[in-house]
Structure formats: C-alpha cells, structure tokens
Amino acid sequence: MASQKIARQGEELWKTKIEKVNAELVTLTYGTVVAQLCRDFSTNNNPDYVEVNRQLDKMGYNIGLRLIEDFLAKSSANSSTQACGSFREVAEMISKVGFKIFLNVTPSVTGWSADGKSFGLVLEENPLADFVELPDDGRSQDELWYSNILCGIIRGALEMVQMQTEVKFTSDVLRGNDTTEMRITLLRYIEDEMPPDDE
C-alpha cells in the first residue's frame, strides 16, 4: 500500500513538475562520455576498464551529491512526503520516485537480504545503454560496467542523507546476462562528526 502511494507520487511528479529532455540526447551524450573515457585511459590501445569504472563512479558520486537536493526539493514540494522511516522505504523511494523522475524508468526492488540492509535493483530497460554494443576486444565484456555512473549517483545521494552505502552492478545485459541488476548495501548510518583535517 505504501509502495503504491509512493509509485503514484512518482508518476505525478513525472507528469507535472519535471522538465523533459530528449532521451536520445542523453543516451548519445553518455555514450560519448564512456567512449572518450575508454580512449583516455588506454595505454597502447588497451583501455583500462577498471579505471574507467572507477572514474564513472567518481563522476556519479559528484552528480549524486548535488542531485539529492534537487530530488528532495521536488518531492517535498508535494507535501504528503515524509522522511523515510526505514531502509526499505528508502529503496522504494529510490526506485519509484528517484529513477522515475530522472530517467523515466521504474526498476524493481528485489533480493532483500536477511538483515534488511541490502537489496537489488533490477532495471528492465536502461536508457543509457540504448544502441550500445560493447567493443569486441575480449576484455570489455568482463571488465567494463557501462552504466557505472548510476552506482556513483546513488552512493553520493545517499551519503548526503547520512547513509553510507556500497553500490555495485552485479549483472548487465550488455555483457550478455539476462538482466541489468545493481546491489545496494547499507554500511552504516553516518552520525554528525567533526570534519577531518585534510581536504
């Protein structure tokens, strides 16, 4: 019931308060970013996909830090929203409102772990990866997570709301798996701390 309410809230926000942009523009721009990263981080024409994954995650992290403000502003303008009471509600909000208003997709939340601290998000369709085929050099299929920026975004956004999480992809249709799935694990709630001395 609560999840349907959240779903409906996501739909409403999508229809009324969100400015839209052409999906192909987003897809092609993101594709160019990934391809350029692969070229930049390659030695002797061998891209270092592990490094590319790390860079995508870093970029996503920076996006997430800022995106969460936008998200909270939009979803609390709708006054029926209250803060999430549990990690499960967090999962619902991410999948039904967050993904909906920014990408217009609704991943499904699955695979809750026994202690309720970890869940999976399965994306039926991934607009970032339309028309993409991974390069045929044998390694990209095993090493590159094409949509890794999404992991960074979720991690950055949750960190700004006091949750330290670990977000990773576990399978990707671009690699030949059946589904595109990421795993989100709550590591700890962040209490207010003194800032560290170094920058």
Partner: protein, 169 residues
C-alpha cells in the same frame, strides 16, 4: 544467383562486405562465385564508384554481365550491391572485351531477380533490402564505441544484413 554486398565509407574504404546467394526458388543460399571472382568483384564495385560520384543515386550500371546497385546514405556512405545472374557463364579474360553469355543457362534463370535487372520488381526488392540495411546501419553507428569510417565488426549487424538478404533477395 549470387550477390556481393559491400559498404563503402566516405574515404572509399570498405567497411563491410558479405556475399550470399538467393534463397528464393531453388537457390540454397550459398554464393557460387568462381575463384577469381573474389577480388574481381571488389574491383568492379570500386570502378563503379566513380560513376556513382558523378550521379548521386545512380541506380544500376551494366558491367560485364554484372549489375551494380548503389544506395547512398546521408553521411556519404555507400551501400553497393553487385548481382550476377549466372556466375559460371562469366569468364574473366585478360582482355576487356565482354564474353558472350551462354543462352542455355540463361534460360533457367529467367524467373530469378537478376535476370531482369531492369524490371520493377527487382528495383523494389533491392530498395527494400537497402532500407532494411539502412535501419540496421543507423543503429550500428549509434553505438558510442563505433568511430566514423571504422570497419564494422558487429556480429549483430552482420546477422541483420543476412536476414534482410534472405527476406528480399
């Protein structure tokens, strides 16, 4: 009869090539070019390119009992389809005079497409084939890892071309 299909990029470099035979009416889908035909085909297709550049969508060109169709995309990439109705009758001699085609084998192929290269049905079929390939081509170049004028190595694209060939040719 046999077809040789190739995609030429903007710098006259070949990006993709594939040969197949008709799967309609008695063909078994396998190309039957003679041994020397492999590189002769490429030569013929490249020679035809000069004419294409003179006339922008030139439709066909009779050449040594072969016919060439060309489809020009917006990005100045050319899809060339070479059709040869009866490869066994074509002999490549050292002299540029065209060899006579044997009438007996020619009679068998009257129902096949390339026997009537000027017919409306042929043009329609080739046009539909080119449109299908064009759609597959657009999807292929939207791939962010594909650079302009690079050789196309995607197996997905190759299989789409082969399926389109089976459907229309």
């Amino acid at each position: 009869m046999s077809y040789y299909f190739t995609i030429i990029g903007t710098r006259d470099n070949p990006l993709f090539e594939s040969d197949f035979g008709t799967s309609k009416v008695g063909g078994d889908g396998v190309a039957r070019f003679k041994e020397e035909a492999k590189y002769m085909n490429q030569f013929i297709v490249h020679a035809a390119l000069d004419l294409v550049e003179e006339v922008q969508w030139s439709n066909k060109e009779l050449y040594q009992n072969n016919h060439v169709h060309c489809y020009l995309t917006g990005g100045n990439v050319k899809f060339m389809l070479l059709m040869n109705p009866d490869p066994s009758a074509t002999t490549y001699s050292a002299y540029p005079t065209s060899p006579p085609s044997r009438p007996s084998t020619a009679r068998q192929s009257t129902i096949l497409l390339a026997a009537n290269p000027t017919s409306q049905a042929t043009e329609e079929a080739v046009r539909q084939f080119m449109n299908e390939v064009y759609e597959a081509w657009v999807k292929c170049i939207m791939n962010p890892f594909y650079q302009a004028n690079q050789v196309v190595t995607s197996p997905v694209f190759r299989s789409r071309v082969v399926i389109a060939a089976k459907k229309y040719l």
